[in-house]
């Protein structure tokens, strides 16, 4: 049991940055380009770790705390979410609430660090991030509540080991979680991760002033967050169909990679939403979750 927990943690910590590599290579393949190396995210994190950091004289400790808290929260979230059909490192009744708010804590500190710089860009990004997060949170929580009600447990580990996507409620929840996944990870149609235009950014504009190891923490934290939310979706989607550990592990990792390919295909086929329209899509995700919840409590 212990071994499985450690394998899962190690898998997340090591493979998380690979997801963005797969997404980018998918996009490149669709566009007829060669694309960046699969391991580019690792190179970037390594490069930034070796650099020095620059701090504004007007920034306070909050600015330095942002990346650290963000990474710590992402690792904590990784410990709460089970993967590949085995238990999470940290499992107790009600851990799903902790999961949602550990992610919220990371956002809170990122926003504070952004506001701390006093830059108009970062203030704008913080305002957008908080607005969209406030709309994404109900979708995530109502979705998790649906699964909890359906499986009769409040612990993510038990929820995911007993859930299977063959009920209509869970299909609705998966759709809502898919939208939340795209929003939380700044993917198209919510945010354009490749843009260099500060005025259009949501998440990235908040971290413009971070540099060196701080920025590496942010990049790694973002990769872990994508991995964690992805494993939540894959966990609900993929039933524990076999007791063979290696087979389950392989299926889990394969499904994660498939999720990344899907994101890459979505990004290749559509434009980004106008910022005004983003709340509408998030409200739709919330509606899906709430509707699923009504189906299970009926």
């Amino acid at each position: 049991m212990q071994a499985a927990v450690f394998t899962n943690l190690a898998l997340g910590l090591v493979l998380a940055p690979l997801l963005s590599g797969i997404i980018n290579r998918t996009k490149a393949a669709v566009a007829g380009r060669k694309g960046q190396p699969l391991l580019q995210a690792y190179f970037d994190i390594y490069k930034n770790l070796r650099k020095g950091a620059v701090y504004s004289t007007t920034a306070s400790w909050l600015f330095r705390a942002g990346p650290v808290v963000g990474l710590a929260a992402a690792v904590a979230a990784l410990c709460i979410v089970p993967a590949s059909g085995s238990a999470a490192a940290l499992a107790f009744a009600g851990d799903l609430v902790l999961f949602a708010y550990v992610l919220g804590l990371a956002r809170f500190f990122t926003v504070l660090a952004a506001l701390d710089t006093g830059s108009s860009f970062e203030g704008m990004g913080a305002s957008r991030e908080v607005f969209f997060a406030a709309l994404a949170e109900p979708a995530l929580l109502a979705g998790l509540a649906t699964v909890a009600r359906k499986t009769g447990t409040l612990s993510l580990t038990e929820m995911i080991s007993t859930a299977s996507a063959n009920s209509p409620e869970l299909v609705l929840v998966l759709a809502a979680l898919g939208i939340v996944f795209l929003c939380e990870n700044c993917r198209i149609p919510f945010d354009d991760p490749t843009t260099h235009l500060e005025l259009t950014m949501i998440h990235e504009v908040m971290v413009l002033d971070h540099s060196g190891p701080d920025f590496a923490f942010i990049q790694y934290g973002a990769a872990l967050k994508a991995w964690v939310l992805g494993s939540l979706i894959v966990g609900i989607l993929l039933p524990a169909f076999s007791s063979s550990r290696p087979l389950m592990l392989a299926c889990f990792v394969g499904a994660m990679f498939l999720l990344a390919v899907t994101v890459g295909l979505i990004e290749s086929g559509m434009a980004r939403l106008r910022l005004l329209r983003v709340p509408q899509l998030l409200a739709a995700a919330s509606a899906l979750s709430v509707f699923a919840f009504m189906l299970v409590v009926r």
Partner: protein, 513 residues
């Protein structure tokens, strides 16, 4: 329009300086205002030093040479250019309050010649350089340090972008007054690329002149060098061979095709739509390489010279060009039509950054930005010169005035340009590709308009008694259109600014000169 107030000429025709009517400042103002009210628009409005020292401006300060103001008005309906002049002293009554399109021109006059347009509503430097006029205090203004319009109120916040940008683009400063995500006002402050080209041209033409023309806005090399050559040919009374005209037309339209393809790709990139963005970047390169096939330079440098072109196009290369052209036409149709077929892209393009037709008229917009508002404004059609006297290109217009309209006008023009090039290659006239050029006429003024890919390029060359330039005025289409971008952003989402900006795609160095 009172015809006695103006001298009239066609595009690419020279006028004698002595024949130009010299009005009093008050009647100059009245004449220009009336003409603009009747549908003419200001193509150029500039000051130049009065050559004859005997002429003294009314109220002019002692020791300061008089400044002659020249207005070149484009009368689209009559296909004629109207030129009026006046002598301004240290000040004159500004045209801007009644004629918004004069706004930047008058700021320029004030900055260059220290002539005060009295009553100008927003008089401030435009390029932040020392005045041209002699015996001015050696005080160099600091670029971008000036008063900006501010919207009051506790909920208004200001966002300053540039002059250093995140992407690899030219420097410019944008000051937004925002209420939440909504832009109440945008003010654009340029001048970071000022190289003093107009001053360097005075006293010419010399061996450097042509190179200044080719590099004053690198993406419009063909457009500006063609405008210069047309002006020189007008001054020298030179007849250009039909074969040269055809080759010039091909180069001009290839430049348009390359830039329009690049713009459509960049617009797709700005909304995060990958397929068109990726393919149009390559297709732009294909068009640039076709220009290189003609003259060895992807941007068309050295292609056009006064009197003709420096490179002929023999049959073998013409055939190669034709086959590449057909392939690029197919590729661009495949890549660009995806834009109009994808709802998520159209949702971003439509109703973003709309400029009303009346506003576009008032501001004197030119090029695709004006045609996207439904204005039939195309120098190839209104003021045909060169090859366009013989081979007409239909004017592409759209009605909505938004990002979609500007993008779609580009797509329509791209297709018409390719058809034009194909026709020209197939029916290339025979003959020489270059002609002897005589020295430019003395005491003359020549106006040359070329429809560059961004819009109307206006060059005005004025020569002295020895046939040297007293003044060479260049108006890049960007000079007319930057203010249009500021107006297009009113009440728009600040996050849509990059998209609007790209749909205008104006030149910084073409403006700053």
């Amino acid at each position: 329009m009172n015809t006695a107030d103006f001298s009239f000429c066609y595009n690419g025709q020279a006028l004698g300086l002595d024949g130009l009517p010299l009005l009093s400042p008050a009647s100059f103002r009245m004449a220009v205002l009336r003409a603009v009210a009747e549908g003419a628009r200001i193509s150029a409005l500039f000051g130049m030093p009065e050559e004859h020292p005997g002429v003294k401006a009314p109220g002019g300060a002692a020791g300061q040479g008089a400044i002659r103001l020249v207005a070149v008005l484009a009368c689209d309906a009559e296909a004629q250019l109207a030129v009026a002049t006046t002598l301004a002293g240290t000040s004159y009554e500004a045209l801007t309050p009644e004629c918004p399109q004069a706004c930047w021109f008058e700021r320029e006059i004030n900055e260059q010649w220290n002539v005060l347009p009295e009553g100008h509503p927003w008089l401030k430097p435009i390029r932040f350089h020392r005045p041209y006029a002699a015996n001015q205090p050696e005080h160099k203004p600091c670029i971008g340090v000036t008063d900006f319009f501010r919207v009051g109120g506790p909920e208004i916040h200001e966002v300053a972008v540039g002059p250093v940008h995140a992407g690899i683009i030219e420097p410019g400063h944008f000051r937004f007054q925002c209420h939440g995500e909504e832009v109440k006002h945008l003010e654009i402050s340029l001048g970071y690329q000022h190289r003093g080209i107009e001053q360097a041209l005075a006293g010419g033409p010399d061996t450097r002149t042509m190179h200044y023309m080719e590099t004053l806005a690198g993406d419009t090399t063909v457009g500006h060098s063609l405008a210069y050559c047309q002006a020189m040919e007008a001054l020298a009374g030179c007849r250009v061979s039909p074969r040269s005209l055809a080759l010039r037309g091909i180069a001009l339209e290839l430049e348009r095709a390359a830039n329009h393809a690049g713009d459509l790709g960049a617009l797709a990139g700005d909304v995060g739509f990958l397929p068109t963005a990726a393919y149009c970047g390559r297709i732009r390169g294909d068009f640039l390489n076709m220009t290189a096939l003609l003259c060895g330079s992807r941007f068309g440098r050295t292609m056009i010279r006064p009197g003709g072109v420096s490179f002929d196009c023999e049959e073998q290369r013409a055939a190669e060009l034709l086959s590449r052209l057909k392939k690029a036409a197919r590729d661009s149709a495949g890549a660009v039509n995806l834009l109009w077929e994808t709802p998520s892209v159209m949702a971003r393009f439509e109703n973003t950054g709309a400029v009303a037709r009346g506003t576009a008229e008032d501001l004197g917009l030119v090029g695709p930005a004006a045609r996207a508002c439904g204005l039939v404004r195309d120098a190839r059609y209104n003021f045909p010169s060169g090859i366009f006297r013989f081979a007409q290109i239909p004017v592409a217009t759209e009605a909505a005035g938004d990002v979609f309209a500007r993008a779609y006008v580009r797509w329509l023009e791209l297709q018409r340009s390719l058809e034009f090039i194909e026709n020209q290659i197939q029916r290339m006239p025979s003959g020489d590709s270059a002609a002897e050029l005589k020295a430019p006429a003395a005491d003359s003024l020549a106006v040359s308009l070329v429809e560059g890919w961004r819009g109307e390029i206006c060059h005005v060359a004025v020569t002295d008694s020895r046939g040297r330039f007293i003044r060479y005025k260049i108006v890049d289409p960007s000079f007319h259109n930057w203010f249009g971008l500021a107006i297009a952003m009113r009440n728009q989402q600040i996050s849509d600014f990059p998209l609007c900006n790209k749909s205008f795609n104006l030149s910084y160095c073409g403006h700053d000169l």
